[in-house]
Amino acid sequence: MSADAVQTGLGTAGSDAAACAPETASSIEPLIEHQSLEADIACAGFGPAMGGFLTTLSRAWTENPADPAFESRVAPGMPLQVLCYERADDIGAGVSGVVTRAEGIRASFPKLNPDEIPMAAEVRRERVLYLLDPVGASRRSSLLRCGDALLRGAGRLVGLKDHALELPWTPAFLHKQGGLVMSIGQFNQWVGAQLMGAGLVQIWPGTPVSAPIFAEPPVMTVNGGKRRCGVRGLRLADQGVDRFGAPAEGFMAGMDVHARLTVVGDGPVGAVGQALDEKLGLPLGHARREWGLGMKMVIELPPDSSNPHQLDQNTLAADGVPKGGGKDERLLPGTVWHTFGYPEPEIFGFLYVHPNRLVSVGIFVPSWMGNPARTAYRYLQHYIQHPALWKHLKDGTLRSWGAKSLDESGRRGEPFLVGDGFARIGEGSGSTNMLTGSGVDEAWTTGTQLGEAVLELLRAGRPFTEENLAATYEARRRASRVERGSRQAEHARDGFHHGFVRGLMGMALAGLSGGKLSLDAHIPPAAEQIRPLPPQMKGLKLKKAVTAAMEDGRPLHDALMSARGWPEIPFDGRLLVTHQDALLMGGKVQAMAGFADHVVFHNRGLCIGCEVKTCAAMCSGQAITVGTDGMPAFEREKCVHCGACLWNCAQSADGVHGNIEFRAGSGGLHSAEN
C-alpha cells in the first residue's frame, strides 16, 4: 500500500482504525464516533525538533509559494495543510533552560541575533566545578570521601574555594563555546511566532494528541518481508470527559486528523511516541532504560549586594578576561557552569546566566541514582544553597520553576525513525547526546533533516512511504553529526552503573577517545534501577516516614530527606519556598477542565504493596500523593507533565510495563521563562 492510498478513502474513524489503534480510553469505545478532518501533514508536539521541521518547510514555501510541490492534496488550490498540535496551553510553556552549541539552529538562522530572543545570550565563559558536600548528608562512597578529605586538606593550594574545586579546563566534549544560553520557552515562542506569521503552518496549543491512527494491517514489502504498521494521522484527546475518561457534560470525542505524513515530535514521554513504541517495538538491541529528571529554577539576581560582578565591564580586559588574572566567578550573561558531586555524587548541576540578571539553575536526577527517594525539588533547594552558588543567589527571587524528563538512553533508545506515513524527530527519536549533555540542537537538526527530506519527496512527487522516508530523512540523519555524536555517546555513561567514580572515568574515556573507549555495563530497565531501601533507611522505616509526612501535612520527600540528615530548608518566601509555593510562584500550573486524568495507576494492589513509592517522591509537582490506604492519588491540576512517574514506578504486573501509565493530558506549566 502506498502512502497515497493511505490518505484517501477517509471517513469517520471506528472499526477500520481499531485494528491497529492502541487501546486508549477513547478508542476502545466502539460506539463513539470521532469526527475527522483532512490535512497534508499532521504533527504531534511543538518543541525544538518540530520548530526545525516546520521552519525548514515554511521557509521553502515562503521563498516560492508557487512551487507546485506545496499544493495541498486535501484542499485543492490551497497550500499544504500543515497542522501541529501541542499539549501545553501555550507554545512558550516549555520547561528547559539550555546551553546549546546551536550549530543546527544557526544553520537555519545564519544571521541569528540573540538579542531578538528574550533571555538568549552568546556563551562567553564556561566553568566546571566539583562540589564537595558542605552539610555531610550526601551519600558518598568511601573512595569519594577519601578524595574529598584530601582536597579539603590541600585547600586553597589546589584552588578549593567555597567547598568547590574548579577544573583547570573544560573538556572539549563539554564545551559550548560559540553557542547560546537560552530559555526554551522563549525560543519556542520566537520560532512559533515566525512560523505562524508566515502563514503555512498552524500550531494549536492546548490540544493534546492521544494516539496515532494506525493504517490498515501491515502488508508485505516488495522483498517479501513484513512491513511495519503505518500511520495515517493523529487522534486528539477526548474533551468533556470525567477524570476516568467517560463522556460527561460537553463531551467532544477527540477528532481524527488524517494526513499523508504524520510527524511525531512529542518528546520522550509523549503519548504518540509511546503508542508507536508499543505497537512497533524498538529496533533489535534498543531499549529505553536510562532516564533523568531535569529540574530548574529561573532566578532573578539582586541588582547589587552580593553580586558586585553583575554586568561590571570595568574589571574586564578587552578580551573579556578579568584584569589581574584569577578565576572569573562573575555571573555575566552567557556564563555557563557545569557542576558535579553535590547534592549527591550522581546529581549533575548547571547554572546558565541570561541577560537582565536572570539565571537558570538546575539539577539532573538520573534513574541510575538507584535510591528510591529521588527527591528532586528538595535536592534542588540544597543545590542552590551550596556555598559556591549561594553567594551569588542568596538575595535572588524565584521567577520561574519547572521540570522535565530526559530520555538519557540516547541512540540506544532510538525507535524506528520512519514507517509508512510517519517519521519521528527530536528527543523521542533518541537524538539526545548524553556525552556532551546536549539535546536541543540535535533535536532541532533532526527536524530540519526531516524538513529537507519532505521537501525532496514533495518536489519529486514521491509518497511518504517507509522506503522513501528512510532514503531521504533517515539517510540524512545517519550521515550527520547527530548520528556521529550519538554513536560516540552510546556507552559514555555506562560506567555510572558501577558507581560515580567509574562513571566519571568512563565518561572521560569516551569523551577523550571520541567514543572509541568506554566502560560498558549491563543496564537494567528503569524500574529495576530503583533499589530497595538503602541501609541507612533501615532505622527510619519508610512507612513511618510516610505516615509522619501525611500526619504533619508535609510532602513525603521532605520527611525522607530530613530523616536522612539533610537540614531543614530555611524558607524565606522569596527564593527558598515550599514545593507548593514553587508551583504557585514559579511554575503556575493549570489544567483545563474536561480532560481525563492522564496519570493512571493500573493495579491497585501493586501500588498499595509498593514500599518505595518513588512515584510520589519524584513527582515534580506534588501531583501524586499517598493516601492513608497506601494508594497513590493523582491530582491533574498540579501535574507539570514532567513524566517522571512513568519511569519511577518500581512495580510491574507483566514484567514489561510499569504500573503507571502516562497518557496524553491537558495543562501543565504556565511559564514562558523556562
Binding site: Q202, I203, Q239, G240
Partner: protein, 270 residues
Amino acid sequence: MSNPLHIVVCAGIVPDPLQTLEPVSGPHGPGLKNEMVLPAVLDPWAASALYEAAHLAAKHPGSKVWLVALGPKAKLQQVMMTVAQKAGFELVPVDGPIGGFPDAHSTAAVLAETISAIAGLDKTRLLLFGGWESASRGAGITLQLIGEILGITDQFQGVDRIDMRADCSFEVLERVEGGMHQESVCAGLPAVLGWATGTLAEPRNNPQTGMSNMRTILPALQKARPVALSGDSLRYVAVSLPRQQRATRVVKDMSPDEIARELVEWMGAE
C-alpha cells in the same frame, strides 16, 4: 428566528492570571516588567462575551461575530491560536500597545473607529459585546465609551444572561449590588452588553473551528493597523506593588473545640 445578528466583541489580552506581576516605569509611562514575555490570555470576562456571542450567533442563522482586539500583533497571534479553537469569529486586530495603563479614552476612540470601519457591519443589527471590566485596567468604561461614540444608548453592564426574542427585542440580566440581578427588556438593537461570567462554560477546543477561523485570522493579523494611543490627559504620579505580607500565626495543635471557641470569640467582636 430569521433575524441575523451582527455581534462585535471587544476583547483585549491580559497576562495569564497566574503570573507574578511587577510594575516598571518606561519611556511611555508605567508598564509591567517583562510584559511581552509573560504568557497572555484573552481577557477572562471578554472571553465570556465571545463565547456568549458565538452561542447567540449559532441560534440566529446568518449571524456574524467579529472579534476586535487591540494589542501587539505578535501577542495577539499567539493568543488567537488558543482562542480560535473555541468559537467561530472573524478577527479584527489592531496592532497597539499591551497593558492596563494606557488611557481608556484613547483605547475606546481607536476601537470605535475600527468598528465603524468594519465592512458589511449593519449597525441596526449590532450587539456590541465585551467584558464589563478588563483584568488589566479594570475600569469598566471602555465599552460604554465605544457605545457612546457609536451612538448606542441601550447599555447593560455585568451581564450574565441574554434571551433574544424573534423580533430582536431581548431580556437581559445585569449584576447589581447584593448578589442580585436586574432584569430588563430592551426593545431592540443596537445595544451594548458588558459581560460578567455569563452562563456558558469555556467551550472545548474544536480543531475544525480553529482551522476555519485561521483562514481569516492570519491574513487579518498581517494587515493589522498599527496605532499609538495618546495619553495626554492622564498622568501617573506613582505605580507600586502593595506589600501585603502579614505575620501569619500557624496553629497546628489546637482541637476543633478550641479553634471553634477562638473563632467565635474573634467573630463576636463585631
